[in-house]
Subunit: 348 residues, 2 copies
DNA sequence: CTGAAAGCGCTAACAG
DNA sequence: CTGTTAGCGCTTTCAG
């Protein structure tokens, strides 16, 4: 079974100066040879170690330019063990996501690169994305978890994955997370409207299988109960569909609702759409650019995105530094921004 | 040159079963030992090669589970040369970006992972991001380029970087790109309004240092010239600032404008904001969720995001497959969607 | 500073 | 199928 002397060799021939230079990238060895210095010295120059003389450094830089050398971080990371990279697995990259923005900013400040991917609210895709990031040995992952089984994370966590959940906790798993104070936000909205004289307040929210939607709806029911208000026809949760929301609004108004609290920014838009005559007060959950497009401007419960993002990075870095530190679950306060839509009293 | 028997060994001790198991991740060798099979076999199982027997495969899987083994793609990629990863360097991750969404989708269909990062419209950050992706040896990069000097890309391209620009070309560099037909969009908008009887049509756009803004403004001027319309006070370009846009709209109306074409979605919002009485026709560039929130619904020139994204991935894959193929610059048609705001004739 | 060498964890070629 | 081995490109230790 002799393969003979010259089997198809696809491009190694390493002992020789390569004649197929087109196809091989120069390595540190090549740079060292070109510059006439030790490999060690090239490594130092590339990682700009101060202990290398100016003249040598120049020669190395010249060689790098001459050869078009580009360092390969895969090898560096493999050798070093760390990658200086955080993954962000979010529901949808191309949607407005101030928390992600804050995460990127905070990571940059810590000299960490954030690489992000969408989970599309798809359980299997989330898993693919997160596992892929694990196999790439990202130093840590910021996850906006889907409300589904996260058992697949257990072996990763056991193997050393550093993870922080934002916006929602990872159900059934004891991992660091940072979440808005949804209940306090609803209470603030309710109290605000009640303060303007509203007694019949409705809630239109997202599907309660979503963690935040569930928290907000529950808080609303508690507020109503505490105020002694009836809930019949006043709480509407479900998928974000124009028709459903229009129905919900119509039903609530039929029952005498004079004010509406919404469950998130998208729902706020649909509620406004369903309320052409502006005789109903609205407090929306989540601030957005649209809030000041509407008339009157929308009063909202705003999350502190900056705090959420930077806290997430803080927790993640601490977890990376000490994998066995206690789990932190941080709740970030929200703020009610009165802009007009929530300050109209009920019609006399 | 005897190394002596026991120099300080910082944690490798590979001949032995490791006693500091806490700190070391298991590797393929460990799995092979645990399963009592050859390393080769483990590699085959992990890459699910069909040539491995069921019984052996089971033993390997058991060993993987028992040890909590997680493959390390850094090593795999280093060995293989390719990473199966595309980078996306976009202006702002956390903004609405249907093209990015299409890019992710198309890449997934090709079994490529997309990892994205923001350039924040900052020249230096773009460079950091792109160079970082190059050093990580991503197979290719989708770039939404800033209107700035991209000379730093030259050595990367020479070294084998596969790159495709979306939305704008890379100035001064001959690289693949896919762009909307901005001029045709403006012409369609102009003709549409003219067809409804408008003779005084204004344009409010973004800063002309931005490529698309420049293309659109230029096309508008050409349309007006062709129609024999005067341009005085009718073309307003500059940064997206509420006051500037309100001024622009007021000026144009003072000069008798009965219709406005806008340069992008954000400007559309501001123009609508500045036009409370709805006696001015509007055609906006770029579709958005807001378009149907307004009254009347906004007539827009919509980009074909899906086509842009999938074309970008096609070009990139072709470039990866053949680095010396000719450069393609693709222009994707746009579509005018009549929704109401652009179909009102001028006031009698 | 240099030169040699080990090793990060993987793939793949080779000989059994 | 197994066992061995070279090598991807880098960092880092060690001895001059």
């Amino acid at each position: 079974m002799a393969f003979g002397g010259d089997h198809e060799n696809d491009g190694h021939m390493h002992g020789e100066v390569n004649r197929r230079a087109k196809t091989r990238r120069p390595t540190m060895v090549d740079v060292a040879r070109e510059a006439g210095v030790a490999l060690r010295t090239v490594s130092r120059v590339v990682n700009d170690d101060a202990t290398v003389g100016a003249e040598l450094a120049r020669r190395v830089h010249d060689a790098i330019a001459a050869l078009g050398y580009r360092p390969d971080e895969r090898a560096r990371h493999l050798r070093l063990g760390v990658t200086g990279t955080l993954g962000a697995a979010v529901r949808q990259l191309s949607h407005v996501n101030p928390v992600l923005r804050a995460v990127e900013r905070a990571a940059r400040a810590a000299d960490l690169m954030v690489l992000a991917a969408s989970t599309e609210d798809d359980e299997r895709l989330e898993r693919r994305v997160v596992e892929s990031m694990c196999r790439r040995r990202f130093d840590g992952i910021v996850l906006e978890p889907i409300g589904a089984d996260h058992g697949y994370l257990l072996p990763e966590l056991a193997a050393g994955l550093s993870l922080v959940a934002v916006d929602r906790p990872v159900l059934g798993l004891d991992v660091d997370c940072v979440i808005s104070d949804n209940a306090a936000g609803i209470r603030a909205a309710y109290a605000h409207l009640a303060g303007y004289g509203h007694r019949r307040i409705a809630y239109v929210g997202d599907d309660e299988r979503i963690f935040t939607a569930q928290e907000r709806a529950t808080a609303f029911r508690a507020c109503a109960a505490e105020a002694g208000a009836a809930l019949d026809g006043m709480v509407h949760t479900g998928p974000i569909e124009r028709a459903r929301i229009a129905d919900a609004v119509a039903t609530a108004r039929g029952r005498g609702a004079t004010a509406v609290i919404t469950g998130n920014a998208t729902i706020s838009v649909e509620v406004v759409r369903a309320l052409p005559d502006r005789d109903t007060a609205i407090v929306g959950f989540d601030d957005s650019e649209l809030a000041t497009l509407l008339r009157p401007d929308l009063t909202v419960v705003a999350q502190d995105d900056q705090a959420i993002g930077s806290t997430a990075i803080d927790l993640l870095r601490a977890r990376i530094a000490d994998h066995s530190r206690p789990v932190h679950r941080v709740t970030v306060p929200v703020e009610l921004l009165a802009r007009g839509s929530g300050e109209q009293p009920p019609p006399a």
